[in-house]
Amino acid sequence: MNCKEVLGKMSEFLDAELMDTVCDQLREHLEKCEHCRIEVNTVRRTIEIFQQMECKSVPGHVHEKLFKTLRFDTIGDPEENK
């Protein structure tokens, strides 16, 4: 496997979607090619970083409006005993 092929298959490699034989060829290349190692490591890290994207909380008024629209307020929300 050459560098260009490695770059094309990186994503599938990281997602464990390559056939074992192809995977072994890729690993073999990585062992002797530092450039491709950095390529693969940085893409892996990129994925790891973006997996940590925050799940922000929903603003109170947005939540309230949604539950009103769906008429959940009539079922009785413990927080709405005003």
């Binding site: 094309g8 950095i38 940085t42 973006f50 994207m53 909380s57 949604l66 769906l70």
Partner: protein, 204 residues
Amino acid sequence: MTDYAKKTDVELVADVQGGDQAAYRFLVERYYRKIYNLALRLVRNSEDAEDVLQETFVSAYKALPNFKGQSAFGTWIYRIATNFGLMKLRGKKPVFVSLDEPRDNDMPNIELTDFSANPLEEVLDTELREKMEQAVSALPDDMRTVFLLRDVEGMSNAEVAEILDLSVPAVKSRLHRTRLQLREQLSRYFMERGGRSSQKAMNP
């Protein structure tokens, strides 16, 4: 009293279909935060994200009697939300202009910093998080959609393909291009950040 919180999506869907409207509330509670976050990053403004959130759960409720469960409820609700989000975007400007030809060949061979060495917890600070939001927000609509569903929401290639009516290879190729693009941006960012911190070390 029924303990809805312990029920699976499949059970809650069956409850709603059997006429128990209260069960829908628990499905909404399980997903509305995720849907809001997806919508916000997809449409990139809070007003439209709020609309998408509302439209998603209203139309899902109406469609639920016909939901046969061929796909998981989660996939189905993401599909509805994604479609509403894309409709919002289409109303604003043309989307899906970029096609799926591999562009790796004309990608300039930039100098990469190896930013993979430091522990994740060390690098993930407010500044990087801001950078990440900017980078995702700057992606073309089609790439952003695939990336959000696949890498941020953690869906499978097959699920994303189903949600977007794309083939699995098309999802993979878009995802690959997007990851490379985001990687270049992170690389540039970490290079600049490294420069800043070594400067600080020199002139404390």
